[in-house]
Symmetry: C2
């Protein structure tokens, strides 16, 4: 992130820049994991991201069931693309759609047991890895890590929503940063 090797004094506590790199690296690794999963199962990377988001469920800021609209947000796709993704997943037998009884405009997306087992089987080694790493930490430390991860996620989520509202209400869209 620095233009030249910064001769920063050896800091004891990792700074935000270091955390940014750590988080980015980890996120990149998670993406690759999903990509390999996709390749192994004959799916597209986007489809896997969607399937995992469906399984992860509605853990975001706004609660409620998983709908195409929520996936559109979470995957940053257009509505047409979400329809295509869900069509592919449904055709492959991984998910099913059902109309909400209360609001028949809404479609709720559910994953099938087979898809869950498939994911569990594939991610077993990942869970092993997580367990191995976790074994190096005390229960207290693990709670700290989990708390940090949760706080970061919600923090970034709030930041994203705030920024989107800014650009929506602003005079016009934020101009690209030109240097």
């Amino acid at each position: 992130m620095s233009d030249q090797e910064s001769t920063a004094p050896a800091q004891r506590t990792p700074d935000s820049k270091a955390f940014g790199n750590l988080l980015q690296g980890l996120a990149s690794e998670m993406n690759l994991l999903g990509h390999d999963f996709a390749a192994a199962q004959g799916l597209h990377a986007t489809d896997v991201q969607a399937l995992l988001a469906i399984m992860r469920g509605s853990t975001g800021i706004t609660p409620g069931p998983v709908t195409p609209g929520r996936l559109r947000e979470e995957l940053a796709l257009t509505s047409g693309a979400v329809t295509a993704v869900l069509d592919r997943l449904e055709r492959a037998g991984h998910i099913r759609r059902s109309r909400d009884a209360a609001d028949r405009r809404q479609v709720q997306v559910h994953y099938n047991p087979g898809a869950s087992r498939m994911a569990a089987a594939w991610f077993a080694p990942v869970a092993d890895c997580t367990d191995a790493v976790a074994a190096e930490f005390s229960p207290d430390e693990l709670r700290t890590v989990a708390r940090f991860l949760g706080r970061m996620t919600t923090g970034l989520e709030e930041l994203r929503h705030a920024r989107r509202e800014d650009t929506a209400t602003g005079p016009d869209s934020e101009p690209p940063i030109r240097i």
Copy 2:
């Protein structure tokens, strides 16, 4: 991840499943952040991922400068796609390519100062968010978190390499998991 709501006893320490969800959610949020960055700058999401990977530098298992080949791995793209990404970034003035003097087959990718400043400006709120979250933790706790993140990243990286070697040396490619 469970087919039905598991009635697991209230566990004190987060298990690997909970960590998986946490990490996935965070990774998803990081992706969205990059996507918004791309939209704001008129870039493609892939281009931003590549630019960030270039800036992050060669922090992976294998050391060395950033080359198209490394990006091909890290972004899970084909060589042709990497060339296209670098062409776009170079045309936009964000990076430059240079042939390695020692091995003239290799191309080294460098980012321009302007790209660095652009990223720094855009990610400033993210850094603020990171700082705000970090303020809730003691230096000791932050070190623990950083250690966990680093260990997870290298662990997943090793796992991925091992799995790829397995499929490469195996009788034939691993069959899709069918249930």
